[in-house]
């Protein structure tokens, strides 16, 4: 697992308070919801809709924090707080970086879930 993708203390705390079985289900829900949020960010950018962009980034940030995906959360946060212009001016490059980090998070969570 890539170092720093998931903050293990956050993840363990979540398991402790909500239960391991429940957290497995919650990870599955996140893994099916998150790609939609990434797609929504791309669509919002294409539609030049800053508010829609901000909302999608906000959701991704919130869920990333829940699982301790700190880097992903930080990137989503940057997009939420005024990142629309930068994403637009750089031909969506920040979204590609975000998708890359999400792939690492998905991989790490899938491993943790099986552990």
């Amino acid at each position: 697992m890539a170092e720093g993708t998931i903050d293990r203390s956050v993840y363990e705390e979540l398991k402790l308070t909500a239960g391991a079985d429940f957290v497995r289900e919650l990870v599955d829900t996140f893994l099916s919801e998150a790609p939609r949020m990434l797609a929504e960010l791309r669509r919002a950018l294409d539609a030049n809709d800053a508010d829609r962009f901000r909302r999608a980034a906000h959701s991704l940030k919130s869920n990333s924090n829940t699982f301790g995906a700190s880097s992903l959360a930080a990137m989503a946060r940057k997009l939420e707080l005024g990142g629309f212009g930068a994403a637009r001016d750089n031909g969506g490059e920040p979204l590609s970086a975000l998708a890359g980090e999400y792939a690492r998070v998905a991989q790490a969570l899938t491993e943790l879930k099986r552990a």
Partner: protein
């Protein structure tokens, strides 16, 4: 009521994000609460209007209707504005927190919510709600429905406003010898029946009983809510009171118990209505010359040997079909000018 503080409260989670919704639900169910969920503000309002909840956890950023809109809808709704709301949001910026609190939210928790903090905040909110419910119940028991409603709508503040209305005083004639002639239990029972009958007659005509003391009571027509025909309402209430006492006396006689007679005085005009007392203990009442005159007229029924006496202003505003008899000007205590007094003829 169930013990909502130790689990078992009915909670509503309003959250559009599925992961957040599942996690909050899980946390609250582990605390023993009964949880319902809605995925946006519009759905939440529908649910709140359909069933009762002890507390709502509200997200801000939501499609269709966001949390700010829900909070402002709630504050406008008399039946929903007391539902405690804890905002759970990952929106940043102190201005969002301030806006939520100003719109009436009890608390603001940042997501992801720490379960221990969540439990503490929910416990505190439910306890506050329990105290408020208890207070409302007390107000309902010790004030009339109208005063309770007025308190709910405009809140409590000492001080009065000028209103036009009618004041009615009533008491039981020769109550002291009556009370001395029978066991106290019987007197209490008699008073309870008497008050039940009088309250019914008064509230049935739109009046409120603002004070009771011993065997006497004071009722107001036209406050806290304005009443168009307050003179008529007061006089008709008085006639019904006399009628009910007559019926009561028939029952008393057949049970070989004491009969009672009452005297009623009514005056109309301007008065100051509001809450008097201290911030800790207050009562809704009316004061002013009109109140004094009504009280004196009630006392004067003994002298005049009539059951119902009204002042000139009440008489002037009365509709045609009530029979009155002029007793001429009468000098009463506390008034420099004599007061025109009329006796209302009751059906008996």
């Amino acid at each position: 009521m169930r013990d909502a503080n130790h689990g078992g409260a009915r909670l509503l989670i309003v959250e559009d994000n599925k992961v957040n919704r599942l996690l909050l639900t899980r946390n609250l169910e582990l605390m023993g609460h009964k949880v319902s969920t809605g995925e946006n503000g519009r759905v939440a309002l529908q649910m709140l209007r359909r069933e009762a909840f002890d507390l709502m956890l509200l997200d801000i950023e939501m499609p269709e209707m966001d949390g700010f809109e829900v909070l402002s809808e709630l504050s406008k709704d008399l039946h929903l504005r007391d539902v405690p709301v804890i905002v759970t949001s990952s929106l940043e910026g102190i201005e969002n927190v301030v806006r939520c609190i100003e719109l009436g939210a009890e608390d603001y928790l940042t997501k992801p919510v720490n379960p221990v903090l969540l439990k503490a905040r929910i416990g505190a909110s439910l306890e506050k709600k329990r105290l408020r419910d208890q207070q409302k119940e007390l107000v309902r028991r010790f004030a009339t429905a109208e005063v309770a409603e007025d308190l709910q709508q405009t809140g409590f503040s000492l001080g009065g406003k000028r209103v036009r209305g009618s004041v009615l005083f009533a008491d039981i004639r020769e109550f002291t010898p009556l009370a001395e002639s029978q066991p106290p239990e019987e007197t209490i029972e008699l008073l309870n029946t008497y008050y039940t009958l009088m309250f019914n007659a008064i509230s049935g005509h739109g009046g409120i009983v603002s004070q009771i003391a011993g065997d006497g009571l004071m009722a107001v027509f036209g406050a806290p809510l304005p009443l168009a025909d307050h003179c008529d309402a007061a006089v008709r209430a008085a006639l019904e009171m006399v009628e009910l006492i007559d019926l009561f006396n028939v029952e008393q006689a057949s049970a070989d118990k004491a009969k009672i007679r009452i005297g009623i005085g009514i005056a109309s005009g301007e008065m100051v209505a509001g809450y008097t007392g201290t911030n800790d203990r207050a009562t809704y009442t009316c004061i002013g010359d009109t109140v004094n005159v009504a009280s004196r007229l009630e006392g004067h029924t003994k002298v005049a040997e009539r059951t119902i006496l009204i002042d000139g202003e009440t008489r002037a505003l009365l509709r045609g079909d009530v029979a009155v008899e002029s007793l001429g000007p009468v000098t009463i205590r506390g008034k420099t000018q004599p007061v025109e007094v009329f006796a209302v003829k009751s059906g008996a």
